[in-house]
Assembly symmetry: C3
Homo-oligomer: 147 residues x 3
């Protein structure tokens, strides 16, 4: 297996911006903030994760998916925390940022012990719009599933 | 649940400074470096965590608390590691930094397997004093306890 | 136990560079990219980890070690993820960067649940060569083993 590292050197500004973006993005996801989370993707975003039978396309599909998941978790008394780390940022010639990072998901049932739920790899293409970042494409793979 | 994101855009300098601050701060905590850790809070800091019956106020209370905890863990042969991530920094008009981040606690008994002990959310107000950051207020919530 | 913090103030540029370096470095390690990973160390690097009877010295020893580990993990259907966090960077007068950080290792067997495998502390000396960072020395300690 090879890891493609093409792309220019990332600036401190871009690296910090990506870290801040993921922090806000994941906190919105885990809070079930449907609209605000969907707004961190482009209108035509493609979101490809192994728990879904096919990629989600566009903000309305993202909203629906999070609305359903947030409801299920709330009813089950479960809190999830998504956690990005080892964030490698590769600026591209078209001004997008390609990111490859690791993603953990922690799961805690009210009154129970916290659990490590998933270990994943996340590959994003981030675009700049009005001075902020948005996810244009996301591909997530899970370590427990065949590649 | 909503997440308040008011506050200005964080600079790369401030984001790096916060990351470095938490790294040093947590390493001092986990090493049981009582005085150096307490010195990373303001004199009048308020530290509100669910494991304590009421918030700690001021450095002497922080020192006492860590001294006791460090002794108990040492006697039990347990090492703890506090780990901040998904660090969202929001500069405020009064030059303080509001931070909302996730916090993990890992616990390892000598000769045993490491364990995920806690999954928390940490909300800090950080102030600048003589070119470095200090915690003025901290509120921690645990995912396994009711909000 | 005391934590030595001597060293100057780290710049946003250096902090981001170290974060990006570790992200790429760990992704190469976990992908079993033997040559590319070894190239992130200096030619005369010393790599001291508790799982090895004595420190590895130089890139050829690093390559051999990773080649063997990657083969064993692939045959066992195990994926490992190395994850640095709480990264404290201390610039030294000789232009090297001393780093003290926490290191987690996650382990997932194909079809199984992900596990927290190790909690470690990692102390590196990083040097600059041709505009990029390289590990000159690394000392890792495991929380489950006596100091």
């Amino acid at each position: 297996m090879t890891i493609q590292q093409e792309g220019g050197h990332v600036s401190a500004e871009d690296h910090a911006m990506v870290q801040q973006f993921y922090a806000e993005h994941m906190q919105l996801l885990d809070a079930g903030s449907v609209d605000a989370w969907a707004a961190t993707f482009t209108e035509d975003a493609v979101f490809d994760v192994p728990t879904l039978p096919e990629p989600l396309r566009g903000r309305e599909a993202l909203r629906e998916s999070l609305r359903r998941t947030a409801k299920e978790l709330a009813e089950a008394g479960i809190r999830r925390r998504h956690w990005h780390g080892m964030v490698a940022v590769f600026p591209q010639e078209d001004a997008t940022l390609r990111v490859r990072c690791y993603a953990l998901v922690f799961s805690t049932t009210l009154g129970g012990q916290p659990e490590l739920h998933r270990v994943c790899v996340c590959e994003d293409v981030l675009v700049r719009e009005d001075g902020r970042l948005l996810v244009r494409t996301r591909k997530v793979t899970r370590d427990d599933l065949p590649a």
